[in-house]
């Protein structure tokens, strides 16, 4: 199956080289990554490991300095890339930055959500339909919220409105930078249910997060450390069977830590079951192993 994202040897650094700083520090180096269509990929790593930079490169906001970055048949790293190609790219690959609710600017919610598709020439009834679908995908009733003032919304509602503005572009690839940061647990869970719905609809979703439980929901996780990609694998493989998250300065979910601790103590955890992070089934496994 053809990957929708294919990165080879991707490199990025900020600033222009000059005679005082011939080699600006690399924020990303040697990144090789392939992502399939409709995959849900988690991007994890300590703060400063390059997650945000990667997402912004994929979105076409930053251009790679070296390497290859093929996204939906367009190589973003091509030095001869044209503005028009970038515009077309950004229509299909859309990013929601951190704390998107801080960037709402239209007075009314409906207008703000419409901003994106309107920029690409959608208008009239088609535009209204897009706005409606996007808002409902985020759980905001179109009729109730479209004429609400953006500054009258609660924090959680504002975030939903901001994300609806991104969804209204109907991207093929959706990039989310810490989408649930600052949300209370129920809102975060609701958000991830909707993200999974999008994935069911065929959208490829990449999201960065510090919450290891969210990582468990992903198909695979990409572990970043100091600008390098240490590994891409299923969450189970990474957390239960490897030390890679620790190398990246990350704390695996408690289930994984307990599981490994028990294995170190020589406890035979049942082999036929894949380890689960659900505490109740972990308890069952522990009880089984101890008796």
């Amino acid at each position: 199956m053809n990957p929708v994202i294919s990165l080879r040897g991707l490199e990025y650094s900020y600033g222009k080289p000059d005679k005082h700083l011939p080699e600006p520090p690399k924020v990303l180096a040697g990144i090789d990554l392939q992502v399939d269509g409709a995959e849900l990929l988690a991007i994890i790593g300590a703060t400063g490991s390059g997650k945000t930079t990667l997402l912004q490169i994929l979105a076409g906001l930053l251009l790679p300095k070296k390497g290859e970055a093929r996204i939906l048949d367009l190589d973003l790293a091509n030095p001869k890339i044209r503005e028009k190609e970038l515009d077309a790219h950004r229509r299909r690959t859309v990013i929601a930055l951190q704390r998107p609710e801080e960037m709402l600017f239209r007075t009314y919610v409906g207008d703000d959500v419409a901003y994106g598709p309107a920029n690409y020439g959608i208008s009239g009834r088609a535009l209204a339909l897009r706005v409606k679908e996007a808002m409902e995908a985020m759980g905001l009733s179109y009729t109730l919220f479209k004429d609400r003032r953006t500054d009258s919304l609660s924090g959680g509602e504002m975030r939903k409105a901001a994300l609806a503005g991104v969804l209204a572009l109907k991207p093929e690839i959706l990039l989310l930078d810490e989408p649930s940061a600052g949300l209370d647990p129920p809102s975060a869970e609701e958000l991830f249910r909707r993200i999974q719905d999008l994935r069911e609809q065929g959208v490829t979703v990449l999201f960065s997060t510090h919450d290891m439980e969210q990582v468990m929901l992903a198909d695979r996780a990409a572990v970043f450390h100091e600008g390098r990609l240490l590994a891409v694998d299923t969450p189970e493989q990474l957390f239960f069977y490897s030390q890679i998250p620790e190398q990246a300065g990350l704390l695996p979910p408690e289930a994984a830590r307990i599981y490994r601790q028990l294995k170190n103590l020589g406890v035979d955890m049942p082999l036929n079951k894949t380890p689960s992070w659900d505490p109740e089934s972990l308890a069952n496994s522990i009880v089984e192993a101890l008796t």
Binding site: Y12, Y14, G15, K16, Q56, A59, L61, L62, L63, P79, I81, E83, D87, R90, R91, V94, I95, A96, L97, P100, E102, M103, L104, F105, R106, Y115, G116, N119, Y120, G165, V166, L169
Partner: protein, 291 residues
């Protein structure tokens, strides 16, 4: 190709470099006074020879503290094309009567003065910037105006305003970058490249509103934090850092004052006119000899 990687150009003013030698050791009040008086004088003087004199003394002073001319002027480089344009326009628009040529001999001296003024200003600010750190600017302003406090002049507040302003500059830069990226991600950059200047301005508007609101909100949060940390207006505060006035402060102040005073004298002594006459005489006598 437009990439957000070097947004804002890098605010390099007032970051003291290691090699600022004896100038860097001066009392911040002296530095602040030097900056203000120097900028004022250079802006008002109308004598090419005066400006040239100041410029030469500047370069000597810079050299003596280990700063070469290029290093001095580097922070102000981004503005250069704009300034060249200003000088040119100045010369072109000076002609008073319609019969005169667009650029006549009478325009040369004012254009020269303007160029010298700009270069000298850049040099003076560059030198100050190399010798002063941001906290010293605030302290310097406070120290400078503190004798006026007995008349009710809020020197302490002024210093604090400077401090907080410096704190806000990185915030403004980052916020506008974030907003610009968010707009671009939703197709907003299309307006930025329109041929119609009104369309371009209209495209920039979405970033203004959230920036303004964000800044106000941030200022409010900061004011509240300051209040909770005990800040009350109109109280004298003993500051942590203290700078004793040393002999070199007096020497450099005297030297600086002398240089500026000499330049002013040159203006009143009409040195320019004299030099030009001398120049014309020597050219014609030279010609006379050759013939």
């Amino acid at each position: 190709m437009r990439d957000f990687g070097s947004f804002g150009g890098g605010f390099d003013l007032f970051r003291r470099q290691a090699s600022s030698g004896s100038l860097g050791q001066l009392h911040p009040g002296v530095k602040a006074a030097g900056l203000i008086v120097g900028v004022g004088t250079i802006s008002l003087i109308n004598s090419a020879s005066g400006l040239l004199f100041i410029l030469c003394c500047l370069l000597v002073a810079a050299g003596s503290t280990g700063l070469s001319a290029p290093r001095l002027l580097r922070p102000l480089l981004p503005v250069t094309p704009f300034l060249v344009l200003v000088v040119l326009l100045h010369g072109l628009t000076r002609s008073s009567s319609p019969g005169e040529a667009l650029l006549s001999r009478g325009d040369i001296l004012p254009m020269l003065i303007m160029s010298l003024r700009i270069i000298t200003l850049m040099g003076w600010i560059g030198l100050s910037s190399a010798a002063v750190t941001t906290p010293e600017v605030s302290y310097g302003i406070e120290a400078l105006f503190s004798p006026l406090e007995r008349f009710g002049f809020p020197a302490g507040e002024l210093g604090l305003i400077a401090t907080v302003t410096f704190r806000f500059i990185p915030f403004l830069r980052e916020e506008s970058e974030r907003l610009a990226k968010a707009q671009t991600a939703r197709g907003g950059s299309l307006g930025f490249r329109s041929a119609n200047p009104f369309r371009r301005m209209k495209a920039a508007l979405p970033t203004m509103v959230p920036l303004f609101i964000g800044t106000l909100r941030r200022a409010e949060v900061l004011a509240e934090s300051m209040h909770l940390r005990g800040y009350r207006e109109k109280q004298s505060r003993i500051r942590l850092h203290r700078y004793p006035v040393k002999l070199q402060d007096l020497l450099w102040s005297a030297a600086g004052a002398a240089v500026l005073a000499a330049a002013v004298c040159m203006q009143y002594a009409d040195t320019d006119a004299r030099l030009v006459r001398e120049l014309i005489n020597s050219i014609s006598s030279f010609r006379g000899v050759a013939v």
